[in-house]
């Protein structure tokens, strides 16, 4: 059994960690949070130069064609560094949708641009409060013309193109939903930035008024493609959450070793030790579930839907758990703007809902297990 990343993949992870330690220190994250720029353009260019944006894009489309396991190790480091760039929207959602369902022409147009850092993509799915579901999609597509509003769209105000989920019929079946590829510079597109609990990442509302769009994939398969994209993204974002969990745990551990109160290191109190031990447990369970997700993703296994939901739930819980208790270990200092604890707390809670809520994924996991059990 070799249920681990290869030496080459671990080397890539180390390389990504070194690169991000240099190019994406907390100061860089704070620059975006403070509104100095909507995202870190230099970092984005650097990620392109390192080949990280195209690591899972085949060579024929301008990527390095390394694969999804390589993307997982990079994702972990992106999460650890809280990288303030549209990586997940562009690479896990838009590029994966193109890879799964794009025509050759669509792939040729957008994938090389993504790999080179010239195009930012996103997925426009949500329309206000709610979870991923065909019923929740009201934006209409009629003869390739879109009308409606999407909110929130991650990185929507900085994206060059979007994959838009639209309603083409009202039979009540999944086949009512189709995906469209929209150049966001098109006439009739209006994007407005929204404030969020995690200002290190852009959120937007995008209104489509009589916007001409091209189909992505077959018209009646939009929902099925979308489900696959969300599963893939669940694993990849899971790795970001694992990276964030580990960093939050480290920060808490380091503070517990440095801080003296009542004449001793606070890390010598069992109340603190046990809190950190529990964080370690959560982070470890999440990592292991994500490794299984990585295996399923990289082999396109039939187990992917179940593995992805497990990774999603476990990693969401771990990052929320580690980031909130990291603040608790820090005490009052953890609640200052100056300390970085809140950056992880913000990111963990933003990622927790970004692909739909925890309860949605809990429901999905048990439904998938039930179906497998019945089969």
């Amino acid at each position: 059994m070799n249920f681990d990343f290869s030496d080459d993949q671990k080397q890539l992870r180390d390389e990504a960690r070194r690169f991000l330690a240099e190019k994406c220190p907390p100061k860089a994250v704070r620059a975006v949070i403070d509104g100095k720029a909507p995202y870190d353009r230099d970092l984005w260019k650097g990620l392109a130069d390192m080949g990280f944006l195209g690591v899972a894009i085949p060579e024929a489309f301008g990527g390095s064609g390394a694969g999804h396991l390589e993307l997982c190790v990079i994702a972990e480091e992106m999460g650890r560094a809280l990288a303030p760039v549209p990586f997940s929207s562009t690479v896990y959602l838009a590029a994966e949708a193109l890879l799964l369902a794009g025509s050759d022409a669509q792939k040729q147009k957008w994938l090389p641009a993504i790999a080179q850092g010239h195009a930012i993509g996103t997925l426009a799915l949500f329309e206000g409060t709610g979870n991923p579901s065909p019923k929740a999609i009201k934006l209409t597509a009629s003869n390739g013309v879109l009308n409606g509003t999407k909110k929130p769209v991650a990185d929507g105000a900085i994206a060059d193109f979007a994959i838009v989920a639209a309603r083409t019929g009202s039979t009540g079946r999944d086949s009512d939903i189709a995906l469209f590829l929209v150049d966001l510079t098109s006439e009739g597109v209006e994007a407005k930035a929204l404030t969020s609990i995690d200002p290190s990442r852009n959120q937007a509302e995008i209104t489509f008024t009589n916007v001409k769009a091209e189909l992505l994939g077959a018209a009646n398969e939009g929902w099925s493609i979308l489900s696959q994209v969300l599963d893939r993204a669940a694993v990849l974002i899971g790795f970001e959450q694992v990276g964030g969990s580990d960093r939050a745990l480290e920060m808490g551990r380091d503070y517990a070793l440095d801080r003296i109160a009542f004449g001793r290191q606070i890390g010598s109190f069992q109340a603190i030790k046990h809190m950190l031990a529990d964080m370690y447990v959560s982070a470890t369970l999440a990592r292991s579930n994500c490794y299984y997700g990585a295996w399923a993703l990289s082999t396109n296994a039939a187990e992917l839907p179940e593995a992805a939901a497990s990774a999603r739930i476990s990693a969401t819980q771990a990052f929320q758990h580690c980031s909130k208790n990291n603040i608790q270990v820090h005490g009052g200092m953890g609640f200052t703007w100056e300390f970085d604890c809140h950056l992880y707390y913000r990111r963990s809670n933003a990622l927790a809902v970004g692909l739909g809520s925890l309860s949605h994924w809990e429901d999905q996991l048990i439904e998938r297990m039930r179906q497998k059990n019945a089969a």
Partner: protein, 415 residues
Amino acid sequence: MNFDDTPQEAEFRSKARAWISANAPREYEDELKKAALGRIQLKSANILDVAKAWQKKKADAGWAVPHWPKEYGGRGASPIERVIWQQEEGVFGKLGALFIIGHGMCGPTMMAFAQEEHKLRYLPPLASGENIWCQLFSEPAGGSDVAGLRTRAEKDGDDWIINGQKIWTSGAHHSDYGILITRTDPNVPKHKGLTMFFLSMKSPGVEIKPIKQANGQAEFNEVYFTDVRIPDSQRLGAVGDGWNVSLTTLMNERMAIGANVATGFPELFEFCNNLMLDDGPAIDDPAVRAKLANWAVRASGLRYTAFRSISALSKGERPGPENSIGKLVAGAMLQDVATYALDLQGASGVLNGPEDAEVAGKFQAMLLRSPATRVEGGTDEILRNIIAERVLGLPGDIRVDKDVPFNKIPTRGRA
């Protein structure tokens, strides 16, 4: 990343599988599968006889304790081959419960510290299950603080005279031998005055009394020692070095990876698939789903954590203190899962008669047994200390009795 065996591992697995398939006691397979936590019983046979027969059969073919050296009753298998054997033995591994302490703790301690003559004499019948061994560590005054033990060993010529009491000794009533940690010097700090021995459980002056547990069962014992005589040749390690010897025992135990640690989740999932609530099947209820999903990812997380450890073993790495998470997560889960399964049964959840209770009272038995899982072999709190100190590098507890002679340590909390 893959789940494949190396060619060498595959060869070992196919050998093990072929032998098990030709030799395992299939007639008990169903009963073993259904056995509830803490009460493995067979309707048609004595579990002790079946377990001993299976162990002996394995021993005759060299499969008894595969990772032990050949001369002591094993086949010199590697740590990863040990895991493969466990995977292949599957449900029949439950028959090994009687031998876990002997094979996992007593044997390795004997291997590290006994005289060669004693190893050759005692280890093969331990491997084959002809002799059962127990571990005499815990005492009424020394549970988590095992070094606080008070059983005395006093030198008398070439012998030692033992007086005192042990508690929570698994399987003492079946045992032929035991390893025993004693206090040989109460005038030095507690960790420094300990010495380890092995002895025959049939020695004059050894008295074994079963403990009636909170769940009504009796898996453990109290063992009383009254002027029990042990020859000095049965000492394991130096006089006063018993604490280090016991650490060897406990470290060896860590090599056993709990890939199949019981969490109760598969049972609960199956139960919810079959249970009808007022509004339909339990499995379709959103509140039930949320609960199940939380436990599902803990169970799968443990499974894949074990796979990661197995992969490390396969590369020749040694598992470390991070393996403490298995029991820490599983123990609490068992208790929570059982509590919830009763809740789903409504007022009938109180019943545990095999005829009246859902799934023959499996969850009621789990509920009543699970508190012990969170205590035995390291409490939840000790396991968290191990993770905090040995994995995360946090400071050890401040030990107020560290430099105090053992006989000056207070023994009562309130006057």
